[in-house]
């Protein structure tokens, strides 16, 4: 699948500062004044709005486990203020620099990330390795080298990926093909953010294709409960994998089909009679107007392709 962004292409190179940053953590030379050492320089005049973090849970003094939790007895790294995430200051807060000199690096995240994704994520997971992220290690996004901050805005008051209006846009930065799919002839109601990516997917690690449920079929049947069965007459591919006939994000064929009927159906069904007939343009409305080709084609009669509970529904016609 085309991913459309360097972010998804394991793009977090271990930059020149990577090893130095890791070493700084091991050395553990934290600042003497905590956030007061940082906020003297990093304020709202920065291109990256620093103070907005105090509008979030990360900058909240009353949130248990927050880097700015001011209560005594907090379990580290809670209460470690800026350095909980950006690492020990070391020489970064040293006084006036000589002309042309640069400060010792601090770890940055996301697009400005200067350490590989595993290092960045390790810092987030020090607090967030909870139930919702239990399957992050080894998941598709983790293996693709995604950093948490590629999707999440930690300093912003509103984390776009967690909002209904901006979630699809955030995911679509990488999954552009999926975003385009939602504009096709048939699609789930994602164009107007009625359905969100999160309604089906767990980006922190789910089953196949990162679905929130145990299997892809379980994810589909969570909404399409009417197709759950078990039916008296089952259709084998329906039981096996919805993806055999359908694409989930959008299709230029009706009903999110991978190909249209009858061409799709005749990929499997070939017994004597109409199932083995070749359908040609002579069968279009201007010609012989074939029931096997036009309107819903095979489904003009065999409409119950997802299964039938009718005693005479063996051919999915009842």
């Amino acid at each position: 699948m085309l991913t459309g962004s360097l972010m998804a292409a394991e793009a977090h190179a271990a930059g020149p500062a990577h090893d130095e940053l890791v070493a700084k953590f091991a050395e553990g030379e934290y600042s003497r004044r905590g956030a007061d050492s940082c906020l003297g320089c990093h304020d709202e005049d920065e291109p990256f709005p620093t103070l907005e973090v105090f509008r979030t849970v990360h900058g909240h003094p009353g949130v248990p486990g927050s880097p700015f939790q001011m209560a005594h007895g907090a379990v580290l790294p809670a209460g470690m203020q800026c350095e909980a995430c950006h690492g020990p200051a070391g020489e970064h807060t040293a006084g006036i620099l000589a002309v042309g000199a640069s400060r010792e690096p601090m770890i940055n995240f996301g697009l400005r990330g200067n350490a590989d994704a595993a290092v960045q994520n390790g810092l987030c997971l020090a607090c967030h390795a909870n139930y919702e992220r239990a399957h992050w290690a080894g998941s598709a996004h983790e293996q693709a080298g995604l950093a948490c901050a590629d999707c999440h805005l930690v300093h912003a008051e509103v984390d776009a990926v967690r909002t209904r209006e901006r979630q699809a846009e955030t995911c679509g930065r990488c999954h552009r093909q999926v975003a385009a799919d939602t504009l096709k002839l048939s699609s789930h109601p994602m164009r107007d953010n009625q359905f969100l990516c999160r309604d089906c997917h767990d980006p922190h690690g789910g089953g196949d294709a990162l679905v929130r449920r145990a299997t892809i079929n379980d994810a589909c049947l969570a909404c399409h409960t009417d197709l759950r069965g078990p039916f008296l007459w089952e259709h084998a591919p329906v039981v096996e994998d919805c993806g055999i006939c359908h694409v989930p994000h959008g299709s230029n064929q009706p009903a999110l089909l991978v190909r249209r009927a009858p061409q799709l159906c005749q990929g499997c069904h070939s017994s004597v009679g109409h199932r083995s007939f070749a359908q040609t343009p002579e069968d279009l409305a201007a010609g012989r107007a074939s029931a096997f080709l036009l309107a819903n084609a095979c489904l003009n009669c065999h409409f119950a392709v997802h299964g039938s509970n009718h005693p005479s529904g063996n051919l999915f016609r009842r």
């Binding site: 953590f25 553990g28 994520n121 399957h135 290690a137 002839l185 145990a214 036009l294």
Partner: protein, 690 residues
């Protein structure tokens, strides 16, 4: 039993591993926070009392079903819309938020949330999801679950149905209510319970036939789904252990749809089809995660049970056939499922990373097999045959090794083995083995290159005859296949500028070497280029062009054998997008965003038959849209916004073109036409923040 024990053993193993490690090992030995006063920290920002309201006038140019398919903007004219929110939070961690979105549209949503950080959280949510598929379908039927023809129908032939039909809306409306309570009785424990209910009402389309004379029928939808969920989670690093129970049920207010036969002058005898049966599904999930050293181990095991016991309808509405009684009043359907996943991810060295995953999925359909004598087309009693139920077992093991050769180069090798077993099907077993290599290189400057190549081969157990299918056919999801794919992407960040360029391409080719009939080959190609430019934090420009094509060949035989026809199907999508954003650049306080999207779809189908290749007319599905949003912050707390959205959609589809209700001799269709329209809406809103 053995499987369950093994699964539980794996789960237990993930919970008892004693050590914990991280990629970064912070050293807190020398931390002295006694002077960390945080005097410069604006903690007053954490106390929130804010809200907003927004009123909007929306004017839609024209009425088009597809234009307002998911949002209710399907009618022309002016309407009001609005949002509102209220939020409160204090320094102790109490919070409350109420928000309502799109109150004037059919897609309205509302949410209430309150809680105390680290103690409890309550969420109540309401959401409506409209879905308008078509409004130009025509039917002569009236009624709900008993569809009747007009009294004058006896004087007409179905071939004149167009004149006797009236339009009906093919649309549904979902209403979803959800409540969730989370409670943390201790720092390591979270309990959560939720209830969700969804109703879906409206009308969709279905078809039914009486012995090769088919009729399109408006189908009533009156569904209700409910789900109760309970969850308990224990977290004490490195352990995370969770248990979850779900109980879901589906209820359909309508069991059957009865219709009068449109191909009989008197409209009888009637036919009857079964609608979706009531069903229940329960699942229990155990989740565990732990870490030791530089290794993470996680497992998720889900056991499920699906039940369906709706009363059977009679074989037929035709009372004159002298049928035997049904073997049971209902199916007593019962299927058990299991889905397990165990994953291990380890940093073997600073540069070497190993991932192992094993997944298993089983469906054991324990429904009784009933001997039934289906009635074909309400006319012909067929010989007794067993009902059909299928079971499945699939397991996948995947390994991936990634080596960071240097700061700018890494390579990954991976392999996957999948085995599938099925009951009662022609191919009882598949085994697929695949491997891939993935290379990532960062060159000088901002250059990055990613290359991936993969290959997989699937074999199939010997064919066994279980149906009347032509024995040369291999159903493509069961058939032996060979698959090869590659993908390349290059990115370049132009030095000393804020320009990023990217290009990518991919190919996937699939052959079904044992399939003489059926789908024999598929090929997917894709390529794309993109550029973005962000000269300042408040200016952003990006554009992309992508193309994806998929072609496939299906072989068939009318003469049993030899093969005497082929379908070639080719579908291509070309997508173009452009985004420009300028915040406060054109005028202080004025933010402008422009988004253009274009997705052109083409389908070229052809049939090779009787020494001639005959091409179908081209399938067309072209979408173009332009969205312009301008927001002007009039005062500190007040802003005016204008949004204009224009959409042009054109489609051509030979399956519907010219197919009026009476166009097909033996099918009474809805006469729907492929959508083509140009439409726009303008929204002007006033927003005030408190």
């Amino acid at each position: 039993m053995t499987k369950t024990c093994a699964a539980l053993a794996v789960l237990a193993a993930t919970t008892v591993s004693p050590l914990h490690g991280a990629v970064v090992e912070p050293n807190y030995d020398n931390v002295d926070t006694s002077r960390w006063r945080c005097r410069l920290c604006p903690f007053d920002l954490s106390t929130v009392r804010q809200g907003h309201w927004r009123v909007e006038a929306l004017a839609v140019d024209d009425a088009h079903t597809r234009f307002g398919r998911d949002n209710g903007l399907d009618r022309a004219g002016v309407r009001g819309n609005g949002d509102a929110s209220l939020a409160y939070g204090n320094a102790e961690g109490r919070h409350l938020a109420i928000d309502a979105v799109d109150l004037g549209l059919d897609s309205r949503q509302a949410r209430f949330r309150t809680g105390y950080n680290g103690r409890y959280d309550v969420l109540v949510q309401w959401r409506e999801v409209p879905r308008i598929v078509a409004a130009d379908g025509r039917t002569p039927y009236s009624g709900d679950t008993m569809l009747e023809l007009p009294e004058t129908w006896g004087d007409r032939e179905p071939q004149n149905a167009t004149a006797a039909s009236a339009q009906f809306p093919y649309a549904t409306h979902r209403r979803q209510a959800r409540a969730r309570l989370s409670f943390e009785p201790a720092p390591a424990v979270r309990l959560r319970a939720s209830y969700a209910r969804e109703t879906k009402t409206g009308t969709t389309e279905t078809f039914a036939d009486r012995f090769y004379q088919a009729t399109g029928l408006p189908k009533p939808i009156d569904h209700a789904s409910e789900e109760i969920r309970g969850q308990a989670v224990f977290t004490s690093q490195p352990w995370v252990v969770g248990a979850e129970l779900r109980r879901s049920r589906f209820r359909n207010a309508n069991a059957a749809l009865v219709w009068e036969n449109a191909f009989s002058p008197r409209g009888d005898p009637t036919g009857r089809i079964a609608l979706a049966p009531d069903n229940d599904a329960d699942t229990a999930t155990l989740t565990s995660r732990t870490g030791f050293g530089r290794t993470r181990l996680s497992a998720r095991l889900t056991w499920g049970r699906h039940r369906q016991d709706d009363a059977f309808l009679p074989y037929t509405t035709n009372g004159g056939l002298g049928l035997e009684a049904l073997p049971a009043p209902s199916l007593g359907g019962h299927a058990r499922t299991f889905a397990g996943a165990v994953s291990l991810a380890s940093r073997l060295t600073r540069r070497l990373r190993l991932s192992l995953t094993h997944r298993q999925h089983e469906r054991d359909n324990r429904s009784p097999v009933l001997m039934l004598s289906p009635v074909l087309g309400d006319l012909i009693v067929t010989p007794p045959r067993p009902s059909r139920s299928y079971g499945l077992r699939r397991q996948t093991t995947e390994a991936r090794l990634r080596h960071r050769i240097g700061p700018r180069l890494s390579v990954a090798l991976g392999g996957r083995s999948t085995e599938a077993e099925r009951t009662r099907l022609e191919i009882a077993r598949n085994r697929e083995n695949g491997a891939w290599v993935d290379l990532l290189a960062h060159g000088p400057g901002g250059l990055a290159l990613s290359l991936k190549a993969s290959q997989a081969s699937r074999d199939a157990s010997p064919f066994r005859t279980v149906s009347r299918n032509n024995p040369l056919t291999r159903r493509y999801y069961q058939a032996a296949r060979d698959q090869r794919a590659w993908r390349a992407r290059v990115d370049y960040r132009v030095p000393a500028s804020q320009v990023a360029l990217g290009a990518e391409a991919e190919v996937r080719a699939t052959d079904y070497p044992s399939s003489e009939l059926g789908l024999t080959r598929e090929r997917d190609d894709g390529w794309g280029v993109d550029v973005s430019y962000a000269p300042a934090a408040d200016i952003y420009l990006s554009a992309f062009l992508e193309s994806r094509a998929s072609d496939a060949t299906t072989a068939g035989s009318q003469s049993h054998p030899p093969i005497d026809w082929y379908y070639d199907t080719f579908d291509r999508t070309r997508a173009t997008g452009f985004v420009a954003r300028a915040n406060g650049v054109l005028h202080p306080g004025l933010d402008v965003e422009l988004t253009y999207s274009q997705v052109d779809g083409r389908g070229r189908y052809a049939t090779a038959f009787a020494d001639a290749v005959q091409a179908f007319p081209e399938l067309v599905s072209d979408h173009r849209s332009l969205k312009v949003e301008a927001t002007y912050r009039w005062r500190r707390q007040t802003q005016v916004a204008v949004r204009w959205y224009w959409e042009d959609y054109a489609s051509a589809d030979w399956a519907f073109r010219g197919v009026t209700p009476d166009a097909i001799r033996n099918v009474l269709t809805f006469g729907r036409r492929p959508p083509t329209y140009t439409n726009a809406f303008l929204g002007v809103s006033l927003e005030r923040r408190m």
